[in-house]
């Protein structure tokens, strides 16, 4: 792993000395390898390694501290910073209606996450309702109804012959009538390059005015994460991301790509198929995971 590779590179330096340039270059090569193997975007990796090299060259070996550890700390800290620093809470205005729209690629975990998020927000004292805005996928409405029932949150639907913008609008009326303040809209999976489908979700945004638009991303996505995040952000001005399937063993470099491209927080992590498998996203834990 990176720790032992660094120990081999820096092992022979004495305290008081500057870390030598050749050792730093070799260490940065190892970092680059580790990042690419962890699915961190190619361009982000290049930028990242440049920053690390700069910081590492300035390091003077501190007495009692092993230079490998110092450089590892630079790498780790740079990565935590790139992932957003510390965990970010979703700040919702108490007493105000929140309209949360979940978007993302096919199969990323939106429908499951919608129910998880609803359950979480209800624990926080809010009154959620789920809206079935996926009129495309077979049995999508039934799926949302089943998971909604499992977490005890009402589900509003209008079948598959009504457009999602109307469903969102009508669902909001129902929410108001039932005094529910947190409306979570599940949408169909879509490719960021599918013009028709991107137009559909833009129409929903323009008429429904979500207070939060969150991109749901599968943690095992590779280099394509950057494309997905970029197109969705350009089209919908995202407010944040939720990373799913973190209970897998993927290193999850997609987290960096997504944060890098949107500049917005990763709020939550999906950590399993149960509706309770939902946690805050922790940049420090993610950094350790990506570094392997």
């Amino acid at each position: 792993n990176l720790q032992s590779r660094f120990a081999a590179i820096f092992g022979k330096l004495r305290s008081g000395k500057r870390v030598d340039e050749r050792a730093v270059k070799e260490a940065v090569r190892e970092v680059r390898l580790a990042f690419l193997e962890a699915d961190v975007n190619y361009q982000a990796t290049r930028e990242f390694c440049r920053q690390i090299e700069e910081k590492a060259l300035g390091v003077q070996v501190l007495a009692g501290l092993n230079p490998a550890q110092q450089v590892i700390k630079i790498v780790y800290d740079t990565m935590v910073e790139m992932l957003g620093g510390e965990k970010q809470n979703l700040t919702l205005m108490p007493g105000q209606q929140e309209r949360i729209m979940l978007v993302g690629l096919q199969g990323s975990g939106k429908t499951t996450t919608a129910a998880k998020l609803a359950a979480r927000l209800r624990q926080d004292g809010r009154k959620p309702i789920l809206i079935a805005g996926d009129i495309h996928r077979p049995a999508a409405i039934k799926q949302l109804e089943v998971v909604g029932k499992q977490v005890g949150v009402p589900v509003f639907s209008m079948g598959t012959d009504v457009d999602p913008a109307t469903i969102a609008k009508e669902g909001t009326k129902k929410a108001k009538a039932d005094d529910l303040d947190t409306i979570i809209l599940d949408t169909a999976g879509r490719l960021h390059i599918d013009e028709q489908m991107m137009a559909e979700v833009k129409r929903v945004r323009e008429s429904w005015h979500p207070t939060l638009t969150l991109l749901v991303v599968d943690a095992m996505v590779g280099q394509d994460a950057v494309n997905q995040a970029r197109h969705f952000h350009e089209n919908l001005d995202l407010d944040g991301t939720i990373l799913t399937k973190l209970d897998g063993d993927t290193r999850g470099g997609a987290a960096i790509s997504v944060r890098y491209v949107t500049g917005k927080p990763i709020y939550f992590a999906g950590t399993g198929e149960k509706l309770s498998d939902f946690e805050f996203f922790h940049p420090d834990r993610m950094a350790s995971r990506i570094l392997g």
């Binding site: 193997e37 699915d39 190619y42 199969g107 077979p138 490719l191 494309n227 399937k245 198929e273």
Partner: protein, 281 residues
Amino acid sequence: FQRRGKIDDDLLDELEETLITADIGVETTTRLIDHLRDQVKFQKKKGSTDINWLTDTLQSAIGEMIASENRSLKTGTEKPSVYLVVGVNGVGKTTAIGKLAWRFRSEGQKALIVAADTFRAAAIDQLAIWADRAGCDIVKGEEGVDPSSVVYNAVHAARAGQHDFVIIDTAGRLHNRANLMQELGKMARVIGREFPGAPHETLLVLDASTGQNALQQARQFTDTCGVTGIILTKMDGTAKGGVIIGIHDQLKIPVKFIGLGEKIDDLEPFEPEAFLKALFE
């Protein structure tokens, strides 16, 4: 990189970026670039403007890595041929089965699809809609029952009904969940016990946007139930699916079909030439 004038280190760096960005992975990319570098030296192509020679050399090196004699689906000596469809969550298994059933029907064959995902919300409903669209029969179990019991019933129903193909849908499962992988291993054994020779194919469904974790998925699924082929889905996106090159090179598992969309006819046999060409677009 077609705009660059000549073959030099900068061009090789650019090619490296193209390969890594296509999810080919560091190890495989390094081997390919080293091979190119050797060829450039050997054939004295440094500084040459013959970019086509370079891309042809690269494409043929990749082509060799993914060559296979086993592109078509294996059939049994007696009916039905049984196909087990596996993979992690959300990759497109259920959809692929609907597409396959429709393809068999359009070739005049009778298919039976089996709803052995007894766990996920509305999984059975979803497959039932595909059975309707594909015009094929379906075997369902009760939600929450042991999937192996559904598989058992299906194999027996198939022998009676004279179906040509039986395609079994399973629940998505992460390969690092030991209990879920054990459940899958049990299903495969039940199939083999009730029908020697089956399953004739165990198809791993992979999402084309998956990164390096795909190799680990392929390894674990093949250790558990022996994967004989891959269905690479969502190739209609911007992802290139480069992970299948390393999978083929290291595990010898061929890609048999690709998914190009969400409609019933969006499934095509894997064409290595088209795949290679798309890698560089």
